[in-house]
C-alpha cells in the first residue's frame, strides 16, 4: 500500500512498508536498479518486504535466484546468517575491488536482509553480523532502527556507488512508527555515516543500533522517573561510525553505556570504547565505558534461555546505575 502524504502531517508506517516503499521508489527512479534474492519475486519476499514489487516491475527487475549463497551477487539475503556462505564475495569481490583496481571498478551494490536474533530461531539463525562486516574497509555498514531510518538509509544505500551492507531486523518489520510528511517524500534520504540523538539527556550517554535503540528509550523512560536523564544516540551507521556525535555527548554527560545484541568480544561496543579512548572525550569520562551486549554463547532455543541471552531493558537500567555508581 502506498501512503499519499497530501494533507496529513504524520502517518503510521511499519518498517516493512518503509523498506518496501523505498525500494519501489528507487526502482522507479533509476532503471539500472534491480532486486535479486531468494523468494523476493513471486513469493513476495520471505518476510514480505518485497511484496508487490515483482507484480509491478516484472522478471527483469525483480529476480528470484536458486539457493546459491556464493554465486549470487545477491541484493537480498534471506537472512544474514546465510551470508556467511557468501561472505567471501562480499569482502573480496565487493569491498576490495575499487581499491585493488585503483579506482577503475566501482561496486554499487546493496546487500540487505534481516540480521541478529529473531524469536526461537536457535543458534544458526540468530547471529548479529554488524561487527563482522564493519571490520572491513571498503564496505559501508548501516543498521536502521525505525521506519524513518529504514526508508532514508535504504534510499541512500541504493544511491551510493559503493557496497553497502544493510542490516535489517526481523522483529522490527511489523513495528509501526510515525513518519513525518517530509520523510515520506521521494527524495528523502538519510546520510550514511550520521548518528541521530533520539533523546536529549545530561547524566549518561546510551549508544545503540537497530532494535536496542528502542530498549534504550524504554530504559531512559524508567530512569527519568528516578531523576536520571539519559541521552540516547541511534548510531544508524556502523561503518563509518559517527564518533563525533558520541564524543560530543560524552563531553556533556561524562558517562557512556553502549548497547548491542551482538556478542561482546571484538564487537561494536568494543570499537566505541577504543575510539572514545583515543579521542578528546576520554578526559571527560568519570567512569569506564560499560558495554551491554548479548551473552557470549551460541543462541539457545528454549524461550527463557533465549530471553536471558540478549540485553533486556532491566540490564540497561542496571548498567546505567552501576556506571553512575548509584
Amino acid at each position: 500500500r502506498r501512503f499519499h502524504g497530501s494533507g496529513s502531517a504524520a502517518v503510521q508506517v511499519t518498517v516493512r512498508d518503509a523498506l518496501n516503499q523505498a525500494m519501489d521508489e528507487e526502482l522507479e527512479r533509476d532503471e539500472r536498479v534491480f532486486l535479486m534474492g531468494e523468494e523476493v519475486a513471486q513469493y513476495d519476499g520471505a518476510y514480505k518486504v518485497s511484496r508487490g514489487l515483482w507484480k509491478k516491475y516484472g522478471d527483469k527487475r525483480i529476480i528470484d535466484t536458486p539457493i546459491s549463497e556464493v554465486t549470487k551477487p545477491g541484493v537480498c539475503f534471506m537472512t544474514f546468517n546465510f551470508s556467511m556462505q557468501a561472505i567471501d564475495q562480499v569482502i573480496n569481490s565487493a569491498a576490495k575491488t575499487y581499491y585493488m583496481s585503483a579506482g577503475q571498478q566501482p561496486v554499487p551494490i546493496v546487500f540487505r536482509g534481516p540480521n541478529g536474533a529473531s524469536a526461537g530461531v536457535a543458534a544458526q539463525h540468530s547471529q548479529c553480523f554488524a561487527a563482522w562486516y564493519a571490520h572491513c574497509p571498503g564496505l559501508k555498514v548501516v543498521s536502521p532502527w525505525n521506519s524513518e531510518d529504514a526508508r532514508g538509509l535504504l534510499k541512500s544505500a541504493i544511491r551510493d556507488d559503493n557496497p553497502v551492507v544493510f542490516l535489517e531486523n526481523e522483529l522490527m518489520y511489523g513495528v509501526s512508527f510515525e513518519m513525518t510528511e517530509e520523510s515520506q517524500s521521494k527524495d528523502f534520504t538519510i546520510p550514511i555515516g550520521e548518528a541521530k540523538v533520539e533523546r536529549q539527556g545530561s547524566h549518561v550517554t546510551l549508544v545503540s543500533h537497530s532494535r536496542y535503540v528502542g530498549h534504550c528509550l524504554d530504559a531512559a523512560a524508567v530512569l527519568a522517573k528516578e531523576g536520571i536523564e539519559c541521552e540516547v544516540i541511534n548510531l544508524r551507521t556502523i561503518r563509518p561510525m559517527d564518533v563525533e556525535s558520541i564524543e560530543a555527548s560524552v563531553m556533556k554527560t561524562n558517562h557512556l553505556v553502549t548497547v548491542e545484541g551482538g556478542w561482546p568480544q571484538f564487537g561494536v561496543g568494543a570499537e566505541i570504547c577504543a575510539r572514545v579512548m583515543e579521542g578528546p572525550a576520554f578526559n571527560y569520562l568519570d567512569a569506564p565505558v560499560t558495554r551491554v551486549t548479548g551473552v557470549d554463547i551460541p543462541m539457545p532455543y528454549a524461550k527463557t534461555l533465549e530471553e536471558h541471552s540478549l540485553p533486556q531493558v532491566k540490564d540497561i537500567i542496571f548498567s546505567v546505575k552501576k556506571t553512575l555508581n548509584i
Binding site: Y43, M84, G120, A122, T293, I297, Y301, A302, L305
Partner: protein
C-alpha cells in the same frame, strides 16, 4: 507376556507349517497376535517401480519381499512420524512451539525406507526437515516434541530446537541450506579412515542441489571413494520455488555427473528400501559414493509460516494425498494380500495416538531448562570457564 505370545505364535506356525523360530513382533502389533487365529500371509513379493539409472549397468531389484512383521513395523514407523508431525502442527498453532518448524508429513517413506536398509551403526545427516529422521534414528516422540517445545526433557535439553536434534550416529538437523553435505562426506571419510565398514547417508533437498558446495563435495567423495550415499529428497519445491524455476537440470540423480545415480519413487517405502540397500552395497564394496534422488512430496508448506498454497494448488496436494500417500499405499498392499487385518491397523493407530498424546502432554508440562545451565556445553573436556553475561558485572559459569 512376550514369551506367551511367542509360544502361541510358534504353535500357530507349527500347525500351519510356516516359519518357525523366534519372531520379533513390533510393540503395537503384539496385542493382536494372540487374538487372531486366521492365518495371515507371512510374506509377499511385490513388484516395484524401476529406478532410472545413471552410469549404472544394473539397478535395484524390480521385486521386493515384505514380511508381515516388516510391513507392520514400517507402517508403525511411518504412522508415528505422521501423527507426530501433525501434533507438532497443532502445538505450533497453539504457540507452544515457536520459531522455525519444517514438517515432514508426506515424506515418511523416505525416512522409513532408508532406515530399513541401513544399520543404526551407520551414520546419517540431513537438513532442517529432520523430525522424521530423528525418530528413525532412535529418539522417542517424547524427546522430539519436548525439544520442539524447548523443555529440559528434549533431546537437546531444549537448547537446539526443531533444526538441531542429535542422536548417536545422527548429526542433525542443520539450519543452513546445503551445509550438511560437506559435513556428511567428512563423516564418510571418518568411516573410511577407521575401516569400520560403516557408511554415511547424506541428505539434502532440491533447493540445496544447486549449491556449489554440493558439487565440491561430490568431487572429493568420488576422488577418495568415500562410502557416502548422497540422497536428494526432491519434494518439487525449494520453499516457494518450483524446481523448474530453480534448476537448469531437474535430473537430480544425474547431477553427480561422474558419480552413479538412481531416481527412486520416494512415496513407496519398498522402493526406497531396495534402492538404499543397493546403494549401501555399492558403498560397502568400496566402489565410492552414489547419488539417489527420492521423488517425494510434502503436504505442509515449507515451514509453519508458509501456508504452502501460494505456489501450488490445493488440487495438487489433494491428488498426491489420495493417489500416492505412502502410508495408505503400504496399508492397502498388506490388506489386499491378507498380510494383516484392518483391525490390527486400527489397533496400531490407537496405540500411536496414545503415545503421541502422552508425549505432547509431557512436552507441554515439562519445565524449561534451568537458567544456571545457560552457558554450559561451549567446550568439550574443559574445566569450567567463566562467560561474560549481558554486562561486565554479570559473570556466568560454563561447564563442559
Amino acid at each position: 507376556m512376550k514369551t506367551m505370545l511367542s509360544i502361541i505364535s510358534n504353535a500357530l506356525c507349527r500347525m500351519t507349517g510356516r516359519n518357525v523360530g523366534p519372531q520379533t513382533v513390533p510393540e503395537a502389533a503384539r496385542v493382536v497376535v494372540a487374538r487372531s487365529f486366521t492365518d495371515f500371509t507371512p510374506q509377499v513379493t511385490f513388484d516395484i517401480k524401476k529406478c532410472d539409472l545413471h552410469r549404472l549397468e544394473e539397478g535395484p531389484p524390480l521385486r521386493a519381499e515384505l514380511t508381515r512383521e516388516q510391513g507392520l513395523q514400517y507402517y508403525h514407523t511411518m504412522q508415528t512420524v505422521r501423527r507426530m508431525e501433525l501434533k507438532a502442527d497443532q502445538l505450533y498453532k497453539q504457540k507452544i512451539i515457536r520459531g522455525f518448524c519444517h514438517l515432514y508429513d508426506g515424506q515418511e517413506a523416505c525416512a522409513a525406507g532408508i532406515e530399513a536398509a541401513i544399520n543404526l551403526s551407520d551414520h546419517l545427516i540431513t537438513a532442517y526437515r529432520a523430525h522424521g529422521f530423528t525418530y528413525t534414528r532412535g529418539v522417542s516422540v517424547k524427546e522430539i516434541l519436548a525439544e520442539l517445545t524447548g523443555r529440559k526433557g528434549g533431546v537437546a535439553k531444549g537448547k537446539g530446537g526443531s533444526m538441531h536434534m542429535y542422536a548417536p550416529h545422527f548429526y542433525g538437523g542443520n539450519g543452513i541450506v546445503g551445509a550438511q553435505v560437506p559435513v556428511g562426506a567428512g563423516i564418510a571419510l571418518a568411516c573410511s579412515y577407521q575401516g569400520n565398514n560403516q557408511l554415511c547417508v547424506t541428505l539434502y533437498g532440491d533447493g540445496a542441489a544447486n549449491q556449489g558446495q554440493i558439487f565440491e563435495t561430490f568431487n572429493m567423495a568420488a576422488l577418495w571413494k568415500l562410502p557416502c550415499i548422497f540422497i536428494c529428497e526432491n519434494n518439487k519445491y525449494g520453499m516457494g520455488t518450483a524446481v523448474e524455476r530453480a534448476a537448469a537440470s531437474t535430473d537430480y540423480y544425474k547431477r553427480g555427473d561422474f558419480i552413479p545415480g538412481l531416481r527412486v519413487d520416494g512415496m513407496d517405502v519398498l522402493c526406497v528400501r531396495e534402492a538404499t540397500r543397493f546403494a549401501a552395497e555399492h558403498c560397502r564394496a568400496g566402489k565410492g559414493p552414489i547419488v539417489m534422488e527420492l521423488q517425494t512430496y510434502r503436504y505442509h508448506g515449507h515451514s509453519m509460516s508458509d501456508p504452502g498454497v501460494s505456489y501450488r494448488t490445493r488440487e495438487e496436494i489433494q491428488e498426491v494425498r489420495s493417489k500416492s500417500d505412502p502410508i495408505s499405499m503400504l496399508k492397502e498392499r498388506m490388506l489386499a494380500n491378507n498380510m494383516a487385518s484392518a483391525e490390527e491397523f486400527k489397533e496400531i493407530d490407537i496405540a500411536i495416538r496414545k503415545e503421541v498424546e502422552e508425549a505432547a502432554q509431557f512436552a507441554t508440562l515439562d519445565p524449561e531448562p534451568p537458567l544456571d545451565e545457560l552457558c554450559d556445553h561451549i567446550f568439550h573436556n574443559e574445566p569450567p570457564l567463566e562467560v561474560r553475561g549481558t554486562n561486565p558485572w554479570s559473570k556466568l559459569k560454563s561447564v563442559s
